[in-house]
Amino acid sequence: MVADLSNIEPKIVDALSNVFDPEIPVLSLLDMGVIKEVNVKDNWVHLKLTPTYTGCPAMDTMAADIVAALDSIGYETQIEFVLAPAWTTDWITERGRKALVDYGIASPLSEALDKSALVNGERIVPCPQCESTNTKVLSEFGSTACKALFKCDDCLETFDYFKCLK
């Protein structure tokens, strides 16, 4: 769910769309759906950011990156973290999902399919390398809190899968 930025100055939107997830440098914060609301008054911006995982250590970096990006075009920013409504992977845009796969991270499935893959070990997650679905979960906890570790039995590569959070 991308924030409604239709009333925001294009150069601000442009600056925001060039702030990326520190861990996944191809995924912009707008495409991740973590920027909830932007309010601009003169050269002052108030921006609401919602955390992905509660313990995500990248959130503070994201906030700092946003402040720096807007500072470079002359705006002073105040970031407010909002917990509700809670972030869900549903808010990742289509463009975001494609960016994940291009980067080598399998994008989140629906809640039901996610459970099938993680809990029942069903082979349904497409490998970001070779696209085969002959894949299986190795661990529900991957390189970061938001990802699980998978292995492709066709190309034999391991890969991270972005877990469905709903």
Partner: protein, 234 residues
């Protein structure tokens, strides 16, 4: 926070790469939840209180964590049993807090529930794997259960604050969770080929600030940096 700290001690020391990463991910999630609660507490608290002062600068008897969470990372069986006994409780407690009349608590709870479900799935799956594994794994799990089970009762003994919170609609008296909890864990342990011990409850009053001998070591590690370099920031 105390159990998150115990899990953090495993960073680089887990029994396997995947379990090391899983346990430290769980630790990170829990620290995130703690931060949310402590930030709120700091806002409501005395002038000058911050999430850091609450986390790092209290004296031992000012921590109100349950004694079971201080128990050491003796072996993987202990880590898993401790985690499971906590996860089942944590999920039930959060589900109730999600109905609190305090919006902030509701928001924190709803966020935390999503992650805690993953934690419980992890610990429960290992209970089954190790309980039904080999004779050795079953023995180690049984031994861990016998050490840790007698501490779990404290989770359900309400403090005055919890009683007050329940009466005023913003929290939950954990006593109300006990029966459902006992039923759930009994079923899991039975399915995993483990026997719930019939030993008396251990003395545990961490919630009123009387901690076990382990707390000293935990706090000296947890608090060292803030006390050695006051107000240090990452």
């Amino acid at each position: 926070m105390i159990i998150a700290h115990r899990l953090s001690e495993l960073c680089g020391h887990g029994p396997s790469l995947e379990t090391d990463i899983a346990l430290t991910n769980i630790s990170l999630d829990l620290f995130g939840q703690v931060r949310n609660f402590f930030q709120y507490a700091a806002e409501l608290g005395a002038e000058g209180e911050t999430e850091d002062s609450i986390a790092f600068l209290r004296l031992e008897r000012e921590y109100s964590s349950s004694v079971i969470l201080e128990q050491p990372n003796t072996d993987f069986a202990h880590i898993i049993i401790r985690q499971y006994l906590f996860d089942v409780f944590q999920l039930m407690q959060l589900e109730h807090l999600a109905k609190s009349n305090d919006d902030r608590i509701v928001a924190i709870a709803n966020k935390s529930i999503k992650e805690t479900k993953y934690h419980k799935r992890f610990s429960e799956a290992w209970i089954m794997r190790l309980g039904l594994g080999t004779e050795l794994s079953n023995n180690k799990m049984q031994s861990a259960l016998e050490h840790l089970y007698p501490f779990h009762g404290e989770l359900f003994r309400p403090t005055d604050i919890e009683i007050d919170a329940d009466l005023n609609g913003y929290g939950i008296n954990p006593e109300r969770l006990k029966e459902r909890y006992q039923t759930e864990i009994a079923e899991t342990f039975s399915s995993a080929g483990l026997t719930i011990p019939n030993t008396p409850e251990r003395m545990a009053n961490g919630k009123t600030g009387i901690h076990s001998e382990h707390m000293g070591a935990i706090l000296s590690s947890l608090q060292y940096m803030q006390r050695a370099y006051p107000n240090m920031q990452w």
